[in-house]
């Protein structure tokens, strides 16, 4: 493809705008978005494993030694696979064909929701004597504690993915896959850390994490939509 004529004044002005945009990309966020995909993957994966690693090695659930291995490993694997899907979708580069909203949902929803729902089933963890039934704290205290911990554990990875997202049209745009990764890291951390197996606690404190993540993704999207993503100056306003 070769230029057939000199660039029009409109295109020249557009390029000047674009150069200003490029200058803004010299900041840390811009540099992180421009990292090679391998480096983006490695940093996201390392970051995503911090919370589960910490929970498993430094603050494991007290009933870990007596927990039935098969359901525990199966559920951990389920969370891991769902997290992998979310990371893969969140880090997908824009020069690759986009995945439609329907397909995105069909990949994310079964993996993430299945992991969350299975984790909340009593059969997944309440079959051994050492499990803490309702916990030592009251219902609301323990549920709130897990809820806030799970949320706080997921926020850093979601923020990192929003920064690494090359396809974002706003400086900080939380995509559905990034929010799902945050949700799953928090829920996986809770699965490895919390010994309470009361179904009501699991639904309120663990599966309930779905609500703030959905709300956060919707709110952030609305905010950017209201502000508008258009950063190109209308030509009639150009000095």
């Amino acid at each position: 493809m070769t230029p057939t004529r000199p660039p029009s004044p409109e295109l020249q002005a557009l390029f000047l705008d674009f150069e200003r945009e490029l200058d803004r990309e010299k900041g840390l966020v811009g540099q992180m978005k421009a990292l090679p995909s391998g480096a983006r993957w490695a940093s996201a994966l390392a970051f995503a494993l911090v919370v589960p690693g910490y929970a498993l090695f430094f603050a494991p659930r007290p009933d870990l030694a007596t927990h039935p291995a098969l359901p525990f490993l199966g559920l951990t694997l389920l969370f891991g696979m769902a997290l992998w899907v979310a990371l893969w979708l969140a880090l997908r580069s824009p020069e690759r064909p986009a995945i439609s909203g329907a397909r995105l949902g069909s990949w994310l929803a079964p993996s993430a929701l299945l992991a969350l729902l299975v984790a909340a089933l009593p059969e997944a963890s309440a079959t051994h004597a050492a499990a803490a039934g309702g916990g030592a704290l009251g219902f609301w205290s323990s549920a709130l504690s897990c809820f806030t911990s799970g949320l706080a554990w997921g926020l850093p990875i979601a923020a990192l993915l929003a920064v690494l997202d090359r396809a974002s049209t706003a400086p900080f745009e939380l995509s559905l896959p990034s929010a799902s990764a945050g949700l799953l890291v928090g829920a996986l951390g809770l699965h490895l850390h919390c010994p309470i197996v009361d179904p009501a606690h699991l639904f309120a404190g663990h599966t309930g994490l779905l609500l703030p993540w959905i709300a956060l993704a919707v709110l952030l999207r609305r905010r950017w939509r209201r502000k508008g993503t258009s950063r190109a100056l209308p030509l009639y306003e150009r000095p």
Partner: protein
């Protein structure tokens, strides 16, 4: 003259002017495509800027064997889809044909505005999957292999979509292959000149 890929490699190596050259090669076609579909001039400008911004962000992944043109069009198509997903609607046919009153665009055959208008409407009535293939192959001159790369589909699937789209256009434009081909050529010329 350097190829697109040589320019991209030069840009990755730090030659900023190489990116300007790429911009000058691709921005006109992208702006035409965006202006036709997005209607609002500032949205069309934004799409072009975002396309090059995302190309700039992805430059570290540009490896030997990669091709610039499918990258550019893939990014632009993704952004266009994202735009309509956000706006929640498909492109609408304009009531007044843009550029039809532009003397440059309508010199020669006085029937050109009419042909352009009817082809444009026919194209916009195509299902999105067929319209994308027709636009990229017929109007942006991308071979089927590159169209397949841009849309993330197999070449055979793209050819099937192109064939079905062409059949619909033919039915809409009178049912004759020669007339359809001639009309599409007139429309393609008008697009490249407007």
């Amino acid at each position: 003259m350097l190829t697109d890929e040589e320019l991209m490699r030069a840009y990755v190596a730090g030659d900023r002017m190489a990116f300007r050259e790429l911009f000058e090669r691709y921005a006109p076609a992208l702006l035409r495509m965006a202006r036709r579909d997005l209607r609002q001039p500032e949205d069309a400008h934004d799409l072009v800027q975002q396309t090059f911004l995302q190309l700039h962000r992805a430059r570290a992944d540009f490896r030997e064997g990669a091709r610039v043109r499918p990258w550019v069009f893939t990014i632009a198509m993704n952004l266009k889809r994202q735009y309509f997903r956000t706006k929640g609607r498909r492109p609408e046919a304009p009531l007044v044909l843009e550029g039809a009153d532009d003397p440059k665009a309508t010199t020669g055959d006085p029937e050109t505005p009419l042909i352009v208008s009817s082809v444009r409407r026919a194209v916009e009535e195509l299902p999105a999957a067929q319209r994308e293939v027709i636009e990229l192959h017929w109007f942006e001159d991308l071979p089927f292999a590159e169209v397949a790369e841009v849309l993330g589909a197999s070449q055979s699937a793209v050819k099937v979509r192109a064939h079905r789209g062409y059949q619909r256009l033919k039915a809409r434009l009178g049912g004759d292959s020669d007339v359809t081909d001639a009309s599409l050529r007139v429309y393609a010329n008008w697009r490249s000149e407007s």
